[in-house]
Assembly symmetry: C2
Homo-oligomer: 248 residues x 2
């Protein structure tokens, strides 16, 4: 069946996350409603993964299938005319019939934005850290995340059967151009529920001197959620990109 | 009397502008309330000028006077602890006793942010232009604003007695790093009510081919508000900076 891939940006502030829930505003539901109007059909929309309430995206990917061929450019224009201003469809493109936004995703990139001074004009998308943490200690801690590990200890809600092994390719703190602004970037093949925010929360505890900077390896080895730090607030987190095999 | 100067950043989205109004949330009121708690006194706060409902600031300046000497650093910290996250006091500093945030301001710098594609993560601070205007025509139009003119035609609400002569030093369109993003920057000794947004609205009509690119000079000469274009939306506008004489 003709399959279309959407690239989506959203401000997650007023949404109860990506995934549809009864009587809650979700991004998935907003787009499905716009699709229903634009297509006069209501194909289910499948995202690359959920994002929690308040988490943003600059590069969420989703697909839907429909029993006819549509014009991607016109659909994008219609959707953006119908969607509220905090959800934007950046691109619509035809995909192979077997494309699946979740199963075919090879890599996800998240960034968690912080600042050491309050930012009124970015209060929805950047977390103010007070007092200022020790970024040196937080930077020394990140290499422990690299490679293939069982991330059990950083998983917020766990189903009994799920495999919790993830391969982290990038984990680093980047200073931005404006003094006091920085983000933590992490790239992995997959992420568990609450994983980035729990990693960031633990890094911030290292930055506040509450843990040694070599604590992450120990926590991973315990596979015990109680060993990790608090979950950092949702509004600093952005799903930046989802990567797929180019050859599909 | 000891006088203190505040540098203020705010997201104007949920405020009915800077200036206090009964039963409306205003930035001035939010800061005066925080000052009252921090100082256990309620000195009136005088801003460099009003901003309309929905207009933002990265560099609003205000002053207050109080009958005792206070610690500027501690006051800034207290205020930011008390203020909502969409208002931030960037700096508090002691000023000369005669300093007046409005009367002593020599120059104001505004920017109006636009994009040719919708931006979900900046939907509160950037106006999506659709269809894409002719930036070349809009750039050719701006030099007509430079110099000293009676800006009557670009003033939204006029009091009978007011002098409406302004001296514009900078008026230009700047392309930003991300393709499709741009801002219109204007610097003048003073601005009339609604002036920047009416200028931008008129420029956008030039960009849409509804007016010739040399229309601004003609409109200025008429001194008639009906000759200018529509007022552009508030949320693209940011008061970036207010400049004072260095020697005070």
């Amino acid at each position: 069946m003709p399959t279309y891939r959407l690239l989506i940006e959203y401000d997650g502030t007023r949404f109860s996350g990506w995934q549809m829930q009864p009587n809650q505003p979700t991004v998935q539901d907003a787009i499905e409603q716009a699709l229903a109007t634009a297509l006069r059909a209501r194909p289910p929309l499948v995202g690359s993964g959920r994002t929690d309430a308040g988490v943003h995206a600059r590069g969420q990917v989703a697909h839907f299938r429909i029993d006819r061929v549509i014009d991607p450019f016109r659909l994008r224009r219609s959707l953006n005319g119908l969607l509220p201003s905090d959800v934007v469809v950046l691109a619509v493109e035809a995909a192979p019939d077997t494309f699946h936004a979740r199963f075919d995703a090879r890599r996800r990139r998240y960034r968690y934005y912080v600042s050491t001074a309050p930012r009124a004009l970015e209060h929805r998308t950047r977390v103010h850290l007070r007092p200022v943490p020790n970024f040196g200690a937080m930077r020394r801690a990140t290499p422990d995340l690299l490679g293939t590990h069982d991330f059990d200890a950083f998983c917020r809600v766990r189903s009994a059967t799920e495999d919790r092994v993830c391969t982290v390719e990038v984990a680093r703190w980047i200073y931005e151009a404006r003094p006091g602004d920085a983000y933590f970037e992490i790239v992995a093949n997959r992420f568990l529920h609450g994983m980035v925010r729990t990693i960031v929360g633990t890094l911030l505890e290292i930055g506040r001197g509450l843990r040694p900077s070599d604590d992450l390896g120990r926590i991973l080895a315990t596979r015990d959620r109680r060993e990790a730090g608090e979950t950092a607030p949702a509004h600093g987190l952005v799903l930046e990109a989802v990567q797929y095999d180019a050859t599909r």
